[in-house]
Every structure is written in structure tokens, then in C-alpha cells.
Point group: C2
Chain length 496, copies 2
Amino acid sequence: MKLKVRDLDISSGGPLIAVINSKDAKILDLHVMDRIKIRKSSKVETVVVDISESKKVVPKGKIGVFEEVINSLGLKNNDKVEISIARKPLSIDYIKKKLDGITLAKEEIDQIVWDIVHNKLSSVELAFFVAACYTNVMSTEETILLTKAMVRHGDVLKLNKYPVVDKHSIGGIPGNRTSLVVVPIIATSGFYMPKTSSRSITSPAGTADAMEVLASVAFTIQKMRKIVLKTHGCIVWGGSLNLAPADDKIIAVERPLSIDAESQLLASIMAKKHSVSSTHIIIDVPVGKDAKAKNKVEALKLKSEFKKIGKRLKKHVRVMLTDGRQPIGNGIGPALEARDVLWLLKRDPRRPIDLERKCLFMCANIFDMIGIKDGYRKALKILDSGKAYEKMVEIIKAQHGKEIAAEDIKIGKLSHDVMSARAGRVISIDNSSISRIARIAGAPGDKGAGIYLYKHIGDKVKRGEKLYTIYAESKHEFEYAKDVAKEFNGFEVVTK
Amino acid sequence: MKLKVRDLDISSGGPLIAVINSKDAKILDLHVMDRIKIRKSSKVETVVVDISESKKVVPKGKIGVFEEVINSLGLKNNDKVEISIARKPLSIDYIKKKLDGITLAKEEIDQIVWDIVHNKLSSVELAFFVAACYTNVMSTEETILLTKAMVRHGDVLKLNKYPVVDKHSIGGIPGNRTSLVVVPIIATSGFYMPKTSSRSITSPAGTADAMEVLASVAFTIQKMRKIVLKTHGCIVWGGSLNLAPADDKIIAVERPLSIDAESQLLASIMAKKHSVSSTHIIIDVPVGKDAKAKNKVEALKLKSEFKKIGKRLKKHVRVMLTDGRQPIGNGIGPALEARDVLWLLKRDPRRPIDLERKCLFMCANIFDMIGIKDGYRKALKILDSGKAYEKMVEIIKAQHGKEIAAEDIKIGKLSHDVMSARAGRVISIDNSSISRIARIAGAPGDKGAGIYLYKHIGDKVKRGEKLYTIYAESKHEFEYAKDVAKEFNGFEVVTK
């Protein structure tokens, strides 16, 4: 059947979808979520069918296509395309199998990941896969196969170096910008640390957002390789690369139910690390009520799984359990966090000591893993010598940035101090409230927006003393953030 | 936040969905599949958010809305609406609970069904619910709660009569138009039988499609009630009523994986029956490789579940296991099936005897359930007396139709005979191939399209003798159906 293309001018956000009129659907005996092949000269693409009952948008004889299909086939409005019936992807059968509680084989997991990467599955089908892995928990063996499949169906950074160091912090803690300190310290020591980071999804800033205040973060894998070979380190945005791309698509489907199939969490982290040829990986698992690991039992379970998978992937993996009860560092938001980091590397008295300690502790563990003793002192010496700062400047320049003084980093012009209503001691800081206020103030989109903390848990505070300052770049966001902070500022202060 | 409406001119097919620009989303800290409230004067509706990165379709300051939202709020292009953040529906938590293997309570199942009926769940969320019920199989208790909730959140036909008879055939068998014969026989006997039927989804004709050849089938529940009180019976399309509407939405999500959560199959059938106040229900479970019950073990399991749920709903339920290996009757397709039924009721020698026997057997069981002996003979007497035919004419007239002779029913003008390639005996007929050919020929959209069978399993056939005729109304469909039949005609003939 020949149909005329109508560009719907909408993106599906992933899946390849086309809409045909119910009259044409009837002729081909097609139903919603069936598959068709669209052929345009020599190019063919299999897409998921949606059916329009009305003739308003897609009349008989037309085919409405989403942006993803337009791009994949290079279509234009009114192009004629040939349509034929296509089989469902093989992975549908495998998803059903997993739903029935059957352990999947290598080829089956591989096919599912391939279909995910190539946008062959509708979001409903992907939801069934996630649900299947969630209820019929994947075995360690399956998780390893999933990890490997994610790596295989994506790009890989080959360095041919040993050791290659990597780190990952499991999210949920505001601030916590360790990579921007750990990478230059490790790189200074002569080891390779090709760090890829994410942008914020639900937090006020991801590592990539903070690094972007100082340098570019979007590179091709070839360019990343050059930077790493030259400077021994980098801090780039993983989203600009094509490392284990199945991961992001799975996460998108998990979000509405806030479920986190553990096997997928493990697979996705290890796949990203595996993709950049890491040999020594340190995993930071913050423990706290707003963190992914709510308590020590959960954290230890994660730890044991990471170790198991690391072993099977022939990687050295060490897992650190850290304090996840409050933000790490003082700045929250891209520019405020970048400023914290520069202060820290410059040995400025305003540097956040909690962040420094955590970074040194992390470096000590990395050094220990690769057989270097007295790592904490060694890392501190590198910091104090100013060499870590110099290395950071080198990396910033390699990533198309310029050296900048911490004071010259632009912070939002609008500011509002949040005071303690009483004297006493800070006994808790609600991570999710602090994140929310910083986001509402404009972070991470407005780089200068966010929160700067003056107090942490255990600190004494006077009545009317500043707890934190809210920074914003635009009036509307600023007012809204102030309102939200007025309702609940996230701090619990108890009078002795 | 105030936004300007843009009518996207597309239907989502159920869920209430609106699209906002990523810039506006950032201000409200909204993500894909979050919820917002849209207020237009005094009307408020909670909808699922989709986010557009590009400004092509939904620029900052606009909100793109799907047809379902347009209708629900009575919106027009460029209307100004007020947007605010809304909580996720409560049922998301309950779906997660079921996914975690926890048995759901009455209020929880109730909330889920309410949210489904009111289009509050995205298809991904609904998929998680279906997957949860599939892997963590619902208990009988939960299935009963689901049935009752489906009935509660829909319209109900109240008759205040006893007994009220109903029947249901579990699908998959072409032809099998028993309702059009059983309803007039039971109604002639003075009992009430308010039959609601479906249109075809994947078959060449549903009961409603065949009845539509003779009369109207779309009525309100008030009108249906009048018809039943007057004639004791009706054969109307369930889709025009609002009986247990959650069901159709669940089925739509199950389709891509062809999964059939048994609890939902049971609940959906029993809910439809419960909604029309049936007291005595006969369930026809065909057994065969293309039927829902592949073998006797599966059929008996279904039977026992139906009995259990019937008992708890205080209904008399009888389950018949029938032969599902081949089509029942000769005509397949709306007009061809309607003609079979008129021949049968008119006692024409051309009537299909297999269909007649099955209908009489069904009536015998119904009579037996309500305490009437010798039901088979009684039903046959009603048929032979012509009273069932008279009753059918009465029902047809009540449903705005006219009496019509079987010969005057319009069958497709294009016809093609499919012959046996060899002499021998028919040993199998492939239901799904026969259905597929009839659908491709144009059924059920083209009422006169379909297949007329001359042979059934066990029949002797000569070389070159007709197995069946394909009928079609339009050339294109006709040619395609012939091609498909040429490849495999669905009959297996074995030489003795």
C-alpha cells in the first residue's frame, strides 16, 4: 500500500511511531501497536502503528509520522512511501517469557537491548519488560548479561591503558561534587580517569551541569579519547556520547512509578563504566532516608551485588558507604558547586571541608585499590601542592574552557537569606526539600541559581542567624522559591 | 501559571494528556508523565504531562491538548487556562504495591478501577498494573473485588425480574453466532435475556456486527431496558453502553504482548454480566488449538474459576466445554452469519446444523438451570413452531429494523470459490487462517464480505470440489484475500 507522508511535527520521545487512518488499517488488518514497514526508496524502517479514527489529522491515504521516523528515513511532507505488514520484534516474545518467570538467555537479553536501543519497542512494551524484571528479579547471571548487552549495543572508549580509574556516586544527595576534585587528583598522580557524568534529572545539578560552568562537556568519543590521553582525565557529559544508550530509555519508563529494578540499576552503572574501559571502580553509596539506600542493610546488599558483578566483569570494584543524611558541600546548583570546587582546589579558607574529606577518603580508597599506600596523605599533598588545581585548569582548557577565579563565577543576582526561627542545634536537613527549593529557584537551567548553605547537621545556630541563601537569576522563579522556603525551609533546629 | 490552549487535533485513544514546553516544565519542576491540573473557569481536570523540547508545536506559554482533554474541559484554541501541579493518582501507589506482590484491599482496587475509567492513568502505568496482576496472580478474592469495582464504576441495567438469563462465549471461533438463536428461544419461553455483545476486534464479525445487518445495535441503557421489558430480549452492542468500561481500556494494553491476565478475563466477563443484573449465566468455553482454552485441563481450570466467582457474586453459573476445533455454522462475516441465523430460525433446509445443535444444547442447559425439564426438546419445539422466528422479528423491529427474507440479505458481489486440490476427508480447519482471509476480504467493515463454508471436519471431499466461497465488496480486498487463500486455504484434506 502506498501512502502520502504527513509530518506531525511532534516527537514521541523515542519510539518510532506512525499513525494511519482506520480505513487503511482495516485493509491491512492492522491494530494499534502492530508493526509496519515503511519503505522510502532504498531505506526501510519498522515502526509501531497508531490508528486515527478521525480524518482530521490523518485521512485515508495518508500516514502521519513522528519526528523520529522523519529523521530515520529522511522523509518530507507529501513523500510517497510503501507500507507493508511487519512482524513484531522478537523481543516481545522474550519479554513475555520473563513475565512468565523464565530466566532469559544471552541472545534473548541481547535482542531486547538491541530493540530498545533502536527504538523498536513502544513504551507499553518497555514497561512490561521493566515490570517483568522487577517482579521476577533478574539473577546475577542475567544482570551480567544485561550489562554486557548494554555495552555491546553502544559505543566504547578504548584506551589500552592500565589501570583506568572510575567512580560513581549513587544519586539523591545535593551538592556532593566529588568528581571535580577526585579526577584532577588521580590524573595528577599519572593514572587515567575518563569520567563521564550525567546532567541533572531531578536534582539541582548533575556533575556535567557544574563542569559546564567551567568548560564544555559535550564531546564525541574520539575527542574524549584525545583529552584523556593528553591530560589523563576528563569530566564530560555521558549524554553526548553513545555509551550504553539502552539505559536512558529504561529509566524514562521507570520514572512514573518511581520503581528502580535493582538489576537494572546495577547493570546501568556497570555498563557505563565498562564502556569506558575502566579497570578500577569506586562506588559511593550514600545511606540516608532520602538516598537510594535507606539504611545499612540495603546499602550492604547493593555492595555485595556490585562486588559480584564487578568480579564477573573482571573489574576491581570497591564500594564505600557514606553519610547521605545531608547535602555535601555548601553550594547547591551548577555555579555554586563549581565555586566550591575551585575554592577547594585553590585551598581557599572558604572551601567546604565535608566535601574535601569525602574526596580525600575516596582517593585513599582508589590508591589502595591500585596498590599505593598512605593514599589519604598522598592525595592531600597533591591538593596542598596546587598540582590538582593546575591539573584541573589543564583539563578545563582541554575541554575548551578558560581558567577563571572562583570569585568571577557568576552567581544569581537575586538573593534571599533564610534565617533560623529559633536558637539551638541543627538536627536534620531534608535533602529533597533543599533540592526542590534550589530547582524552583532555577537550577540547573539557570546556572547561577541555587542555594548556599551555612550550616550542617550538628552545627549550633542562633535565632535569626542565616541557615542558607537562595540565589536566582529571574524574578518569577525567585519569588516562587522564597514562597516554598517560607512554608518549609528543610532545616530542623532543636533547642537544647 | 497561565497558558494558551493549542488544540493538537489528535486523540490519545483514552488517557487525558497535555503537552507543555520544556521551559514552562522547568519552572514548575515537571517531568514527563507527571500530573497537572488544568482549570478553565469552574472546570478542573487532572491530566498527564508530556514535554516538548522543540518550540515547533508547543512553544513556551502554550499548552498542547489532545482531543480527550478538549472534550472534557470544553476547550477551544487560544483559550487561556490556569495550570498547577497535581499529585499522582493514589492508584499509582497501589499498582506499585501489587507489583511488590502485596494483595490489594477493596478500596485500593476500587481506586485503580476509578482511575482507569476516568482516564487518569497513562498507558505505561496501566501496563504496570496489568503486568503486576499477571505475574503476581490475583487471588479469587481480589478478582471478585475487581469484578465488583468494574460494575460499580459503570452503568447498570436494573430489571427487577427473576430469572434473568445471560450467556457468554469465550472468543476465537469463527461463526458461532449462537446468541441470535438462543435469545429469541429464551425470550419466547417468557424469560428475560438482555444480551449485550461486542463488535469484532480481531475476528471477521462480532455478534453485534451480525445483528447490525438486521437492526440497529447502539442504544442507551434506558432504551435497552424498554426493549427488554417489551420483548423479553435484545441483542445490542455493549460498546454503546457504559457497562464496566474499565475492561476495554485494560484489553487495549494487553494486546501488544497478547497476554491475558486470567483474573482480568474472568473479572471482565463477569462484570459485564453483573452489570445487566443477570441471575443465570451460561458460559461457552470452546476447546481447541486456536481457542482461548487450548486443552481440557485449561478449560476445566477456567470452569472452576468461573463457578467460584459466580458463587461469590450469588449468580447461577454453568460452564459448557464445546468443540473449538473449527468454525461453527457456514457463514463467516456479518451478512453471511445473519443469513445463516435467519435460515435456521425459518427452518430452511440450508440452515447450519452444527450451529443449531449447539444452540439447542445451550438452551437445554439454560432451561435446566432454571428448573425446566426436557429443555432440548422444548427449545426444538419453539424453533419448529416458528415462534422463535416471530420473536426474532419482534426484537428486530424493537431495535428499529425491518423483517427481511434471508435471500434479500446483501452478500458481496465479488465471489471466488476455493476448491480442494485432492480427494479425501477434511481432517482440520485452521480457524485463524479462515478468520484472516474473511477479514482481508473486508469483514466486518464490509458487511457482505466473508466466507461461506461447504465442508466441515470429517466431511468427504472430491478433487476440485468447493471447500468454501470468498465474498467481497471491493476489488482490492477481494484480490488480496484470493492471494492469501492461494498460499494456504486453511483446510487440511487427507486421502484415505
